[in-house]
């Protein structure tokens, strides 16, 4: 600043030259990157908007006449992609249930609600609202069985249930692993490490497909809940390590002080250790939520009709088979909106906490 002060602000051209054409290599890099960017932006804009067909009114034939995107397939099949096989006249319930979960997620991102009780109330309340909206049977809503759930709402249901079951389990595992009793911590460590080194898919497969061969009929339960339990176990193994990392960030002096004051184990954990551990572990926890949300898509492989499967069905049948790119783009966009906003929020928190510490 001091140097340019006397000469005034450098002109646009000078800035450009300094930033993008300072040397031969830099100039080449700038030109290559600019061409790629321009090409991508133009091609994408042309494909997705200019030459695209948006309305399904003219059927698939209208799409074949153009090179652009065939958004008509979404126009024709969006209900199938979002709601799966849910009864047509009850679709509003499925949409409302997803809305409830979005509100629940937004609420839990507000620091105002960051204490054990509020978060539990929000998540359990949100889950119950979601469940009864989907299942029905109360307030004159007809019952819709889990077998007919599908699309986005099934994805959301798998995610929320996994987190709700997995979080208490993860706290339990983390506490057991840092237990002072050697056998307990060793065995818990083996369990956590084994689960972590297996692919999620093998765990889902074991719970959903293999378990019924091993258990008598009365003990095996519904396939969906078995698979969700497997997914929750996997989530808990990872989350337990994250929480344990957060606990290690709490100075040992605090625990010793609490012990010397004669505070009971339960209260030491509940009021001293866990609140601080959660705060330390928050960015990593959000990251784990993001990963878990993405991994719900694996349920397609063990035969559930979640959003990816309903997307496959949307273009796989009838005369839309050529329009798979648009369907995948639509599904990718839905995932992107959820995952990107959550991970941005996580990055924001991380920066904020970094600032707070110094």
């Amino acid at each position: 600043m001091a140097m340019t002060g006397e000469m005034g602000r450098p002109g646009l051209l000078a800035t450009l030259r300094e930033k993008y054409f300072s040397s031969l290599g830099n100039a080449a890099l700038s030109i290559i990157c600019f061409s790629i960017l321009a090409l991508i932006v133009w091609k994408f804009f042309d494909w997705a908007i200019l030459s695209a067909v948006f309305s399904a009114a003219n059927g698939p034939e209208a799409c074949k006449a153009t090179d652009g995107a065939c958004w008509a397939v979404i126009d024709a099949r969006w209900r199938l992609i979002l709601f799966g096989l849910y009864p047509h006249e009850e679709h509003w319930r499925s949409a409302l249930a997803c809305g409830v979960v979005v509100v629940m997620t937004v609420l839990s991102c507000l620091p105002y609600f960051w204490n054990g009780r509020s978060i539990s109330v929000i998540w359990i309340g949100g889950f119950l609202a979601f469940y009864f909206l989907m299942k029905g049977g109360i307030l004159g809503m007809p019952v819709v069985d889990e077998q007919s759930w599908g699309g986005l709402s099934l994805t959301v249901f798998i995610f929320v249930t996994t987190v709700l079951v997995g979080t208490p389990l993860s706290i339990l595992l983390a506490l057991l692993r840092r237990s002072e009793l050697p056998w307990i911590s060793a065995l818990t460590g083996i369990v956590i490490d084994s689960v972590r080194s297996l692919p999620l898919l093998t765990i889902l497969f074991a719970f959903a497909v293999v378990l019924p061969f091993l258990l008598p009929d009365w003990a095996s339960g519904d396939k969906l809940y078995r698979a969700i339990f497997g997914s929750a176990l996997f989530f808990a193994a990872y989350q337990a390590e994250i929480i344990r990392g957060g606990m290690q960030g709490v100075p040992t002096g605090q625990e010793e002080a609490a012990k010397s004051l004669g505070i009971r184990y339960r209260h030491r954990i509940q009021r001293i250790l866990l609140p601080q551990a959660f705060k330390n572990a928050l960015p990593a926890t959000i990251n784990q939520f993001v990963i878990t949300f993405k991994e719900t898509s694996l349920f397609i492989i063990i035969g559930f009709f979640e959003i990816l499967a309903s997307g496959n069905a949307a273009y796989g049948t009838g005369n839309w088979t050529f329009a798979f790119v648009e369907v995948y783009a639509f599904i990718a966009m839905i995932y992107f909106v959820f995952v990107f906003s959550l991970s941005r929020y996580g990055a924001f928190l991380e920066r904020r906490m970094d600032v707070g510490d110094h």
Binding site: S30, F205, F213, L308, F324
Partner: protein, 389 residues
């Protein structure tokens, strides 16, 4: 009884016995119940089935395999396929990740923007969506008769990518490549390890060239031994009837999996690379510049070695994750370890044994990968007053 509970030593012992005993009891009950259940279906437990022939074939195999071969061989085929896909995926993902990660650490805004778009787009879409997408793309290429022709030696078609190949068995190709890579590994070891630090530089260079030549010759010999008799060594794909004959075929399943793992893993590795370079202190770079090192020297002697040390532990986790991600091959029918085991469970009913083999296999693969990378990590870690030659 109450006094026993108040004795802290006794209580701790009891708690541990209850916990461990309860865990063992649950597992044992599951196994016993499973065995009786399976026996009721007429399935005898034990590992004898491994020597029975399968009666089904796999769609992709590096070694010769037919439906008459036994179960243990099909498991080996699955493990080799997983390792094969994993190796291709990891190498490609690392290349992409390094390029994008470097782009994100340059001074050039445009390169950084391009890198950021890449990372955000591909990292935020689940891998399996990308797998389905690429599979849909590669299976919609024109059929073999209208295949896209690249210089008469590569053909892109809906049956896969055809290219010139060597007329050798898959196993010897695999072993030959492994032998060559092992040679490269020894060369890196000689360059980096403490043990060879005091060696005369000229001798060291000579030794490295000798090893390279040796590895090359050994792999050629392995190729030569494994060649298929009565054929020319190089075979070109050619259209015969409705399909291509000769050359090597990279199946659509394999290429879709490799592309997706490379692109998705590349986005994650790019972030790790960026983080590694950003962790190198400004002071170090300024110091390097001020002692008169050139730009390349600053990069190769200061920034890169320091960044690598910051990256490696995180990279280990990412590699393990990517190996686990190969299991998604089952979604599109790539015969990896997981798919082979699940087919075997379906066909033979030996559920418990195969599940044990599946989990044991992944534990071994992942622990060995992590162990190798951790060993490298320890070997290159900065030591107290290490002087670099």
């Amino acid at each position: 009884m109450l006094s026993a509970w108040n004795n802290i030593k006794l209580r701790n012992a009891m708690l541990q016995i209850i916990y461990v005993g309860g865990f063992v009891a649950v597992i044992a009950t599951l196994i016993v119940m499973g065995r009786t259940n399976l026996q009721a279906q007429g399935i005898i437990s034990g590992f004898d089935f491994l020597w029975k022939s399968t009666g089904w074939d796999v769609n992709f195999s590096l070694i010769d395999f037919s439906a008459r071969d036994p179960y243990w061989l099909v498991l080996v085929v699955g493990i080799l396929n997983t390792l094969f896909l994993g190796t291709i995926g990891l190498v490609l993902a690392t290349v992409i990740g390094v390029i994008i990660g470097m782009a994100r650490t340059t001074e050039n805004d445009l390169a950084r923007l391009l890198g950021a778009i890449y990372v955000e787009v591909f990292r935020n879409i689940p891998l399996i969506v990308q797998v389905f997408f690429w599979y849909a793309i590669v299976t919609r290429f024109p059929g073999p008769r209208q295949a896209i022709n690249l210089a008469d030696s590569f053909f892109l078609s809906s049956r896969g990518l055809y290219g010139p190949g060597l007329n050798i068995t898959g196993l010897s190709a695999f072993l030959g490549i492994v032998a060559f890579l092992a040679g490269l590994g020894v060369i890196i070891w000689i360059s980096a390890a403490q043990r060879f630090r005091r060696m005369d530089p000229a001798r060291k260079t000579r030794l490295r060239w000798l090893i390279l030549l040796g590895a090359f010759i050994v792999s050629l010999v392995i190729f030569w031994i494994g060649r298929i008799p009565d054929t020319s060594l190089v075979s070109m794909p050619a259209l015969k009837g409705l399909n291509f004959r000769g050359g090597i075929r990279i199946s659509t399943e394999l290429s879709a999996m490799a592309i997706s793992i490379a692109i998705y893993g590349g986005a994650y590795i790019a972030e790790i690379v960026r983080g590694g370079f950003n962790s190198v202190g400004r002071g170090q770079i300024e110091a390097a510049k001020s002692v008169g090192l050139t730009k390349w020297q600053v990069f190769s002697r200061v920034r890169f070695p320091l960044a690598l040390r910051a990256m490696l532990p995180i990279l280990t986790n990412q590699y393990v994750w990517l190996i686990k991600a190969t299991t998604m091959g089952i979604a599109i029918g790539f015969a990896d370890f997981f798919m082979v085991v699940s087919t075997a469970i379906n066909q033979s009913g030996q559920t418990l044994e195969l599940l044990g083999i599946l989990m044991g296999g992944f534990l071994v693969i992942n622990f060995s990968l992590a162990a190798i990378l951790n060993r490298i990590n320890r070997a290159i870690a900065l030591k107290g007053n290490q002087l670099r030659s």
